[in-house]
Symmetry: C2
Subunit: 340 residues, 2 copies
């Protein structure tokens, strides 16, 4: 599984950070990718990656503030101009449907592919991604806001050679059938079931991507068995004290303390106030990192635009951003080989 | 007067061209600037210029296709986050108001500054810019689309020294009053009016910025005494023949022929289909330029993102893009000194 950050700024874009957008890529061939939040300019960021709008399976919107959804109409329109034909799922709070319908009607946007809106309240039991189950958890913010928890549907299982020998299953096609989950019948008439000869499966990987939220503890239940939490850290404590609680955002310390208590092995902070400069200035992201580090002993990451992270089968997150991104492939006719 | 292109692509952004947006800057200190069209990502382009959202006076939307208006909600929101307090005028086709109201309501966008919507049908006689009068002309497109014609309200006038001498006006404060347009009374009781002693004024400069349109001839009346036409040239003739007339766009040849007939001295083409590459490829912008050049003998320009053009008082347009743009000033807290 891979996470690729398309935007990491809160409220307004800066010259180096766009507003919210996160691509979640599954391992499987053809399983495509999912987008969590779609701030203005998300489609422009996608042009700088290897992601394509054709392989996008579903879009999850955490909440309806503009910096999380104003890129949606343009992305949908571009997918249409690029001749997408496959169904696209859009999951989000209920007013999202009214927002989209209003935009599509007033701007006469007709799409050449089917769009299915799934209200977040009806997400449980809905099958929107081929490889992952998705659950929503309500958070605490100025408007209704949600976290999405993505869990692998299936984990690969390996055969236990000693159990196969004990059961007398001869090496050959029968092994393959058992690994695929099928019962086999031996020459002597006995039936062997996969559960009898497979090693215990690893824990399915689980990633939580949270929307804006000032009570990280609301994720306590979702965090059980989670490998990664991606959470906003809009402020540091001194700035939160100055701004006050009204915007209902988290500080780095609040999120870090929660992640420590929940024993989350990997924490990625994002959605930084534009007042924090990347490198030099009165306030920098080093301040955010230091505050989180002081309260959290797990693997800590601060997201950057176009940074990629891989989560391996042991649940360890690593940054895998290429040192310098290769020129991305063209998307339909909309790509352009040269970058100004 | 200056034109600064913020986006020059049609339909979808490319890696070098954003969707429609054009800044029109007046000469006068404090007169600010106007924006014509606001495709998604316009606020991101503005971060790469010296323009600020505080000095924006009015936004004119030519038509409601997404590539001309999907950047509007985000730009309005960012101006609010940057603490804009001055009124902002928005001019456009009537459904624009419904589009904006729907977005603002569903995404709970409250702005800390007053917004005044002026339906394009009611633009005549409305005073939206300090230095320019603006008129709209309806065009021909798949949805209602308009051109905006910007004309200087006042031109500077100079005194005619020989007429002042003949009228017996003594050099001194009286000259200044006459130049400011005030009558004066001489010691002998005679009244001298400015019209008697001023040189004839130059023609006020006039710039037409057209929306999507497949009948350039509709601009014949607006083009009388115009110095500059900015018009879409989405296709070249061979591609238009292939695509067919349904999208209702112009070819470079169609616009060039019209500009030639109307004796327009300066023509700027923009809104190019992403199929035309900047430099290398089966189709490039050199094809667009060659087709227009063959039909037009005036000063021809193809717009590029972030290209700036100055229109001098003699009505001559020149490109004045700095060879390499200086780092832009920070905008409130949203700027970021370093560019990734």
């Amino acid at each position: 599984m891979e996470l690729e950050f398309l935007g990491t700024s809160s409220g307004t874009p800066t010259r180096t950070r766009n507003v919210a957008g996160l691509a979640l890529r599954m391992d499987g061939k053809g399983s495509g990718w999912a987008l969590v939040d779609c701030g203005e300019g998300t489609q422009h960021r996608i042009l700088r990656t290897a992601l394509t709008l054709h392989q996008l399976r579903a879009i999850f919107i955490t909440h309806l503030h503009g910096d999380h959804c104003y890129g949606l109409p343009g992305l949908l329109a571009s997918a249409g101009l690029l001749n997408r034909s496959e169904r696209l799922f859009i999951v989000g709070p209920r007013p999202l449907e009214r927002y989209l319908q209003g935009v599509m009607e007033t701007t006469e946007l007709a799409l050449p592919y089917p769009l299915t809106f799934v209200p977040v309240e009806e997400l449980d039991g809905t099958d929107v991604l081929p490889d992952l189950t998705v659950r929503a958890t309500e958070l605490s913010h100025r408007m209704r806001s949600f976290a999405y928890t993505f869990t692998e549907k299936e984990v690969e299982r390996r055969l236990d050679a000693s159990k196969l020998a004990a059961a007398g299953v001869p090496r050959g096609p029968a092994w393959g059938l058992l690994q695929k989950g099928e019962d086999i019948t031996l020459d002597d008439g006995r039936t062997v079931r996969p559960a009898e000869v497979l090693l215990p499966g690893r824990r399915p990987r689980r990633v939580i991507v949270a929307g804006d939220n000032d009570r990280p503890g609301l994720l306590a239940e979702a965090a059980i068995d989670a490998d990664v939490l991606v959470h906003e850290a809009t402020y540091t404590e001194p700035i939160l004290a100055k701004v006050g609680p009204a915007p209902q955002h988290s500080s780095a310390q609040m999120v870090a303390r929660f992640a420590e208590t929940a024993a989350l092995p990997n924490l990625v902070l994002t959605h930084f106030s534009p007042r924090y400069q990347d490198h030099h200035g009165p306030l920098t992201l080093a301040d955010v990192a230091a505050e989180a580090r002081a309260a959290y002993t797990g693997r800590l990451f601060l997201a950057r635009d176009l940074a990629r992270f891989a989560l391996d089968r042991q649940g360890r997150l690593e940054e895998v951003t290429p040192p310098r991104a290769a020129p991305p492939p063209r998307q339909g006719t909309a790509g352009d080989a040269a970058e100004a």
